[in-house]
């Protein structure tokens, strides 16, 4: 399958915790991720803090190695690439443009750094390329020689995006790209990311806790809970008819700035469980409104569905007939 740029199969990642004073234990940050992203698609990754979104991003960037399972990038295992080769394929854009840019480098040298590290081109050709990319991300020319401290938040994030794009990567991993920005600036960065993804046919992983941002950019959505993907499908399908009760709760938590809107009742009263000691059966059952008290406590649901998959014994939003079709699978 040539067009699957990114394939993850049974990827897990464990961290040892404790040690000198506390009991040694294993924190399973990723507990078996199966995920495929096709070229030019944008996958939105959502979930609460602690669900493993950022660990997944680190594994994809090659910053962390998977404990088990395989990650294929462009058809080859991620370990088979050298550091620089990998950086040519995958580039990150981080959340906070105030800490992700070196304050002692000028905008030009920050954007050009990837080329310089790789020793690509001459000083002149690099400078030209920097100006080109800066133009592409809408950075005014006179700011090329400025330092990050002289830029606004939105401009800094444009610099971070330009730096990621200068090496023409195939995959862009955006970890909360707009959460540190004001709303009027956030919208500019969203417009920019949408344009770039279309013009450059970028494959994008968009990690965000803001469902509105995910709705705006993503073609597909994967919902993560305790180190696993509990629902994955086309963005429209998830936003229209989420099957997993956790996805439904996340969707309800979006507060629209419209008159007469009320605070939603999520039904997620219980705390997010500790990843060190995940609940038995379906890991979501202590917080779930569909919990049946038996099956959910004992049996961990396997993924059901084909293009729109979910892990749940009692999914939401099924028509009567669909629910009956579903029953034997429970």
């Amino acid at each position: 399958m040539m067009d699957d740029v990114l394939v993850m199969q049974g990827v897990t990642r464990d961290y040892p915790v404790g040690g000198a004073f506390a009991k040694k234990r294993t924190l399973r940050a990723l507990r078996g991720i199966d995920l495929t992203v096709s070229r030019g698609r944008t996958l939105g990754l959502v979930g609460e803090s602690g669900c493993g979104k950022s660990t997944l991003a680190k594994v994809l960037l090659g910053v962390e190695e998977a404990t088990s399972g395989t990650v294929l990038v462009d058809g080859h295992p991620i370990e088979s690439y050298g550091r620089i080769e990998r950086a040519k394929l995958i580039q990150p854009v981080f959340q906070d443009p105030y800490s992700s840019l070196n304050p002692r480098m000028t905008v030009a040298s920050i954007i050009g750094a990837p080329l310089q590290v790789r020793g690509e081109g001459t000083g002149d050709s690099r400078r030209k390329r920097v100006e080109e990319v800066a133009g592409e991300v809408g950075l005014p020319r006179h700011l090329i020689g400025a330092y990050p401290s002289q830029l606004s938040g939105g401009q800094r994030q444009r610099v971070a995006i330009a730096r990621a794009l200068i090496g023409e990567p195939k995959i862009l991993i955006c970890d909360e790209p707009t959460s540190a920005l004001d709303v009027s600036v956030q919208s500019q960065i969203l417009n920019l990311l949408h344009r770039l993804k279309q013009e450059l046919n970028l494959t994008m992983i968009l990690i965000s806790h803001n469902l509105a941002v995910v709705h705006h950019l993503a073609d597909e959505v994967a919902v993560m809970y305790l180190g696993r993907i509990v629902e994955h499908g086309p963005s429209q399908a998830i936003f229209d008819r989420a099957h997993h009760p956790y996805s439904s709760a996340l969707l309800k938590a979006v507060l629209p700035p419209r008159p007469g809107s009320r605070l939603p009742e999520l039904g997620l009263e219980a705390e997010f469980p500790s990843p060190l000691n995940p609940p038995s059966g379906c890991p979501f059952h202590p917080r779930c409104s569909n919990d049946d008290g038996t099956t959910c406590h004992e049996i961990d649901p396997e993924p059901s569905g084909t293009s729109h998959t979910y892990r749940c014994h009692h999914p939401d939003n099924f028509t009567q007939t669909a629910a009956q079709d579903q029953a034997p699978a429970d």
Partner: protein
């Protein structure tokens, strides 16, 4: 206007002298909060909303200069109150909930000790009574097994629980006014809804006045009775929550509304509106509209002199004010104005 508002602020100004100039981050704010009312102060970073809150709490940084015609809490004027009086009021009559509960709580003390300290600062209570009161409030804010929490340190609690502890601490002395500065910005969306609900329920029950400072218009929509929109240290629009959201009058409010993607309303990839440029540094007196450079509707009249906050004579809402020369009936506005210049940076 209510007979005696809990908070009455007139012409509040904050100046910060720098070596080369004087910053005017807050340029004369009027604010009233009635009993049981939630007033949201909305605006982007740098618009002066947090400094306004700190000024009301008497917590401004030392180099800042505060002037005001009136700051009154339940009729008591605080304009000339000294540090001692402020210390008596803070935590007792006015309480504040900060954005980041991890930095607002002291990491070296147990939750129970921090709560007891507040109580004993303001009331003559024994340790036992203080413990009783703390337990009662931790239970009220929905913290499971409150007895165990009293002996825990802040780092042992999750973000949501820490924010609940902050709310419990704010409620200890039954204040008249709570100022919540971005109370849910640091939390997950799932926790955000719970914390907002909790704040609202407590407020309804006790009749506390709540000043909610936020940049998130979604939070405002679910919580506020009245909205005060700030830009560049000035109030640019005031009105009942639903009226402002349904029909923003000031171009700044309008621009904010057009920049927010809303699932189910905006399409995927739809070009969103935005406000070009950045908030200017607030130096010197304003000689024209402060929003002029970023406003798509700007014309000659806007540069002629400072714009006054005026009553917007509109039929669909009372008490609406705007600081703009445009007609309040919405003529001459268009959503396209906000997306005109797509890569305008």
């Amino acid at each position: 206007m209510e007979a005696s508002p809990i908070l009455d602020v007139r012409n509040l100004k904050v100046d910060i002298p720098l070596t080369d100039a004087v910053l005017h981050p807050v340029r004369g704010i009027d604010l009233t909060v009635a009993r049981g009312e939630t007033v949201a102060i909305v605006g982007e970073s740098g618009c002066g909303k947090s400094l306004t809150a700190l000024a009301i709490m008497g917590l401004l940084p030392r180099n800042a200069r505060l002037t005001s015609e009136r700051i009154a809490l339940k009729g008591e004027s605080l304009t000339s109150a000294g540090r001692k009086r402020w210390r008596q009021l803070r935590g007792d009559r006015i309480a504040m909930i900060f954005q980041d509960p991890m930095t607002a709580l002291d990491p070296c003390y147990r939750i129970g000790d921090q709560m007891r300290e507040i109580l004993q600062q303001h009331r003559r209570v024994s340790n036992k009574e203080a413990r009783q009161r703390s337990l009662e409030l931790l239970g009220k804010v929905g913290i499971p097994s409150p007895e165990d929490r009293l002996s825990q340190f802040p780092h042992q609690l999750s973000g949501g629980l820490r924010q609940r502890v902050m709310i419990a601490m704010a409620l200890l002395c039954e204040p008249e006014l709570i100022i919540a500065d971005e109370p849910t910005t640091a939390l997950d969306v799932t926790i955000q809804a719970q914390i907002l609900r909790l704040l609202r329920d407590i407020q309804r029950e006790t009749g506390i006045g709540l000043v909610l400072i936020t940049h998130d218009l979604g939070v405002v929509a679910g919580m506020a009775d009245r909205i005060v929109v700030m830009y560049g240290g000035e109030v640019v629009e005031v009105g009942a929550c639903d009226d402002v959201l349904a029909r923003p009058l000031h171009p700044y409010t309008e621009g904010l509304m057009h920049s927010i993607p809303v699932p189910g309303e905006t399409r995927q990839g739809q070009t969103l509106g935005f406000i070009p440029g950045v908030v200017p540094r607030q130096v010197g007196e304003l000689t024209r509209c402060g929003f002029l450079e970023r406003c798509p509707y700007a014309h000659a009249k806007c540069g002629a002199g400072p714009i006054a906050l005026r009553d917007a004579d509109v039929s669909d809402g009372d008490d609406r004010m705007m600081r703009c020369v445009l007609p309040a009936d919405g003529s001459g506005r268009s959503p396209e104005a906000w997306v005109r210049d797509v890569e305008g940076a």
